[in-house]
């Protein structure tokens, strides 16, 4: 086996040379812009930094400092908000998206138009979406006027300055922004299921709800898998919306702070003072975030792989 392989190896080289040549430019760019920065930030996280200069080797000291106060309060708070954000998006965006997609699927007419309506906000940059919702939600803004006219609110609307509810508002704005994505993916997924399966279920007397739960959902596993993974990566990298709507401090009182806004403050010195940075701590946090994303993403993909129904 191995001998024959060895003999064939040069021929394989011949065969793959063209392929390698084609891959090489992309690989070089990938190394330059992904692998090298990752490696250098890993390396940097093992050193003490004063200002913007690397000083002494400190091993895992930066990682240890992340998990004690004063950093721990911020880190655990930010992590909690990221988890909350993920759950909120799963329910609000993907759950609702599934129901919308199923309704579109049942309707069968005018779906293309409605799909584009759902998808419209997704073509806007999160920065624009954030600015837009900030304007709508200011005191004296459009939402306040609407709520006044409906008699649901008295006085001023100050929900973005309210540390209890601000995060909910941000998650809702994010869900609104990306609602089109699950609708698009689920509609495509539903169309791929053989119509005979639905017909058979109907003949057996299953209602729409039953069909969604018992027939469609198990067969939509691949769609659910990719959406969950994407949602996880996006929510744990959440930065732009918070930055635009609440500032880099995750106002009010860090109620909307996320791991990446915390990273930004450590790296660029916005932790209550400009110019006082803690790059070692920032790089340690960045490294941990990268590891977390990688491990959980692989875990998620495997988890769904085992639950995919095949006919």
């Amino acid at each position: 086996m191995s001998a024959s392989r060895l003999r064939r190896a040069p021929i394989e080289w011949q065969k793959h040379r063209a392929a390698i040549l084609f891959v090489l430019p992309a690989l070089l760019i990938y190394c330059l812009f992904v692998v090298y920065p990752l490696a250098s930030s890993l390396w940097g996280s093992l050193f003490e930094w004063r200002g913007f200069r690397m000083r002494d080797f400190v091993g895992l000291d930066n990682f240890a400092r992340l998990f004690v106060d004063p950093s721990w309060t911020k880190l655990s708070g930010a992590f909690t908000h990221n988890v909350f954000w993920f759950c909120g998006i799963m329910v609000l965006q993907n759950g609702l998206g599934l129901i919308f997609a199923y309704l579109l699927f049942l309707r069968r007419r005018g779906t293309a138009f409605l799909q584009s309506v759902f998808f419209f906000p997704a073509v806007l940059s999160p920065v624009i979406v954030g600015a837009l919702w900030r304007l709508l939600l200011t005191p004296d803004g459009a939402v306040e006027t609407l709520l006044h006219n409906l008699g649901l609110l008295e006085g001023r609307l100050t929900i973005l300055g309210n540390s209890t509810w601000a995060l909910w508002v941000l998650v809702a704005a994010d869900a609104w922004n990306w609602m089109g994505l699950p609708v698009l993916i689920f509609t495509a997924g539903l169309r791929q299921i053989q119509p005979e399966v639905f017909e058979a279920a109907r003949l057996d007397g299953a209602g729409n709800g039953r069909i969604l739960w018992s027939i469609a959902l198990p067969q939509l596993m691949p769609s659910i898998s990719s959406l969950t993974t994407l949602t996880f990566i996006n929510t744990f990298n959440q930065f732009d919306l918070v930055y635009v709507m609440q500032g880099v401090q995750g106002n009010p009182n860090f109620a909307t702070d996320t791991l990446v806004t915390y990273f930004f403050r450590l790296a660029f010195g916005a932790e209550g003072a400009v110019g006082i940075t803690d790059i070692g701590l920032a790089l340690a946090l960045g490294t941990l975030l990268f590891l977390l994303l990688t491990v959980v993403t692989i875990g998620l993909l495997r988890f769904f792989e085992r639950r995919t129904v095949r006919f």
Partner: protein, 416 residues
């Protein structure tokens, strides 16, 4: 193919020509970076006066908004692509640049610095070696800006005691005028920290700073807590929908004449005037419980201009710095910008500036910036984060004070 080649050639020539002009431009041209985008017109006027006297040197001003400035400057300095002269933050926020060795000490090259008071220089001293790394330009005071027309119309005199101040707010509110423009939305915590700087000295007086630095007093001190309580007690008079109003909106409320008062620092003077030349306003120190001739106010060194070590044009840049340290610059600065210049002796031709210079007579360092913004977690980071919830009544003033104390205790060492 030929076409592409000739294009490449001309592009290369273009690049060469560009570098050539860049090199030739640096002779006799001093680049200066600043974050004061609001002051661009005034600064150009000031430096035109310098070029009029020194025709062989032009000062090229480049502005970057405050939020991105520090990041841009530090990145450029690390890459050796910085300016000749950089506007620098003060106190603790200056130290990373000094530590990194990006700046030259100016003690010998700019002799005019000897004419500055220690308080004015305090913000630009390197803490490790005690040398001066920047020419300071202003020592702003903080106080209550007020709309003189609204005060007159409602028959209100400048309040001399805290009770009079509250009575004035009540009167304004009854007349349908917003008493104090202030808000805490979207990253406005720093502006509310300034409210603490405005109200604080009226409670804890001018001596409190030294007690704090020597370790005799802490943030949990009853006087500091009382100052926080006063800020909270004024909540009924802040902008309607306080938690949803941000700093920019609050300034607009004052500038447009909708609000009677605004808590702020001296730098607002120039930008208020620039945005509404017809606004009639002045400033008074926040009053204490008992009437005083000259109540204590917070003051600090706002920043300075420093010489970048990598500059290839140090001789000309030093001349520019000497000009910034001159009485002439102080006068131009006072006339064009209306903040108190760092160098004393300028004549105030602007009535608001005149009031500010009078307030300087009883100034105490702005506590959270001058004393406790040296290392993270800074006092400011806690105050800015929690003050909104404190005013809203979610956090007790004692708790905020305790949190600030706990944060700074991790690094602060008293200097007896």
């Amino acid at each position: 193919m030929l076409n592409v080649r000739s294009r490449l050639k001309s592009a290369a020539i273009g690049v060469l020509a560009l570098t050539a002009t860049a090199l030739s431009a640096s002779a006799g041209e001093v680049t200066l970076w600043s974050w004061r985008t609001e002051d661009q017109a005034a600064m150009e006027k000031i430096f035109a006066a310098f070029t009029a006297k020194n025709p062989d040197i032009t000062v090229k001003l480049q502005f970057t908004p405050d939020a991105d400035y520090q990041n841009r400057l530090s990145t450029a300095l690390r890459g050796g692509k910085g300016p000749d002269i950089a506007q620098l933050k003060a106190y603790g926020e200056l130290q990373p640049l000094v530590d990194g060795g990006y700046l030259d000490a100016l003690n010998d090259s700019v002799p005019e610095l000897k004419d500055f008071t220690p308080a004015a220089l305090g913000g630009s001293v390197g803490i490790a070696d005690g040398k001066i790394y920047g020419v300071p330009y202003s020592t702003p005071v903080m106080g209550v800006f007020y709309n003189t027309e609204i005060f007159e119309k409602n028959g209100i005199a400048v309040p001399k005691t805290y009770d009079e101040f509250v009575a004035a707010c009540e009167k304004l509110k009854a007349a349908g005028v917003l008493p104090i423009a202030a808000g805490g939305a979207n990253g406005s915590g720093w502006a509310l920290e300034i409210n603490a700087g405005v109200v604080g000295p009226s409670v804890y007086g001018a001596g409190f700073y030294d007690e704090m630095i020597s370790g005799k007093a802490k943030f949990t001190d009853a006087r500091y807590v009382k100052a926080l309580e006063k800020i909270k007690a004024l909540q009924p008079y802040y902008s309607d929908g306080f938690a949803g109003v941000d700093y920019t909106t609050a300034t607009q409320q004052f500038i447009s004449g909708k609000a009677a008062m605004f808590f702020g620092g001296a730098w607002e003077n120039g930008s208020f005037k620039a945005q509404n030349p017809n606004l009639k306003f002045s400033i008074f120190p926040f009053p204490g419980d008992k009437a005083e001739a000259q109540p204590a106010v917070s003051a600090f060194s706002d920043g300075s201009y420093g010489l970048v070590s990598d500059s290839e044009n140090k001789e000309d840049a030093t001349k520019v710095l000497s000009f910034i340290a001159s009485p002439e610059f102080a006068q131009l600065f006072a006339d064009n910008l209306g903040w108190p210049p760092a160098r004393s002796g300028a004549t105030a031709n602007d009535p608001v500036l005149k009031s500010m210079l009078e307030m300087q007579a009883n100034a105490t360092p702005y506590l959270t910036l001058v004393g406790f913004r040296w290392q993270t977690p800074t006092a400011s980071s806690v105050v800015q984060a929690e003050i909104i919830d404190m005013i809203e009544g979610k956090i007790a003033p004692e708790k905020l004070a305790a949190d600030v104390d706990a944060a700074v205790s991790t690094w602060f060492k008293p200097k007896p």
